[in-house]
């Protein structure tokens, strides 16, 4: 199992490339086959496949084979490590505000 930091690294690395990011955003609108994406982005099929492999490796998308086509879709839990970050700080501030209140009660 990947550590949280390693998972984040892979997500960042996957999404830092503008083309890959565009492909990913495009997939959030719905499943697509490699050939659909090739048309949509005017990028060669091997390049699209390479981008998809990187996204898949980062856990951001998954592929489903149907006949001769592989359809790609966004992996719903893929972005969880990033969303967890925000959640972490939500809990952090709530907890520390409690401490602030207790401190204020003690202060003269």
């Amino acid at each position: 199992m990947m550590t949280a930091a390693a998972a984040e690294d892979r997500i960042f690395q996957a999404l830092v490339d503008p083309s890959r990011r565009a492909i990913f955003v495009s997939l959030t609108r719905g499943e697509a086959a490699v050939k659909d994406l090739t048309k949509r982005f005017d990028i060669s099929q091997p390049a699209i496949s390479q981008h998809l492999a990187t996204l898949k490796d980062a856990g951001l998308v998954s592929g489903r084979r149907e006949g001769r086509c592989v359809y790609y879709r966004v992996e719903p839990k893929g972005m969880k490590p990033l969303i967890d970050w925000v959640a972490h700080y939500r809990a952090f501030w709530t907890e520390h505000a409690d401490r602030l209140e207790r401190l204020l009660d003690r202060m003269a």
Binding site: T3, A5, P76, M79, R99
Partner: protein, 147 residues
């Protein structure tokens, strides 16, 4: 204390809270700016000087891949009213924290906003930082919808 999570849905790249505290703004301000008091409720702080542009650090426990330091720099100081500083963790989290104090009949309404949850890229992927900033919170918002 009453707490309201005022984070707007479409603005999930920021966290926003309002805390109603039963204490006057002068006292709350002290708790936000005195290093000894900060260490008691938030985190141990080093080199804190209340001056525009001044840099300081919060220190917390060592964690794998992180030395436990939060690097900060004052962006805005308006005594008894507003305190804004950067909250940067390593080269992977670049946010801004804003405290706003408003007097209310029962004490102080403390608003806290932490914004900029756009994962700054590790520096060794050069130039990426800019890319992430540019994306703003849109990506995270989008992804929260699809999750």
């Amino acid at each position: 204390m009453s707490v309201t999570d005022t984070t707007a849905k479409e603005q999930s790249a920021a966290l926003a809270f309002e805390f109603d505290l039963r204490h006057p703004p002068e006292k709350v301000w002290r708790a936000l700016t005195d290093p000894v008091l900060l260490a008691e409720w938030l985190l141990p702080v080093a080199e804190l000087q209340l001056a525009h542009g001044a840099e300081f650090m919060f220190r917390t426990q060592l964690q794998p891949g992180w030395d436990g330091t939060v690097n900060c720099r004052f962006v805005e100081i308006e005594p008894l009213r507003k305190l804004k500083y950067t909250w940067v963790v390593g080269d992977f989290l670049d946010t801004v924290v804003t405290f706003t104090l408003t007097p209310i009949p029962t004490g102080t309404r403390l608003s806290l906003v932490q914004s900029g949850f756009t994962p700054a890229q590790k520096q060794n992927f050069g130039g990426a930082r800019y890319g992430w900033r540019m994306m703003g919170g849109k990506l995270v918002a989008l992804l929260e919808r699809t999750t």
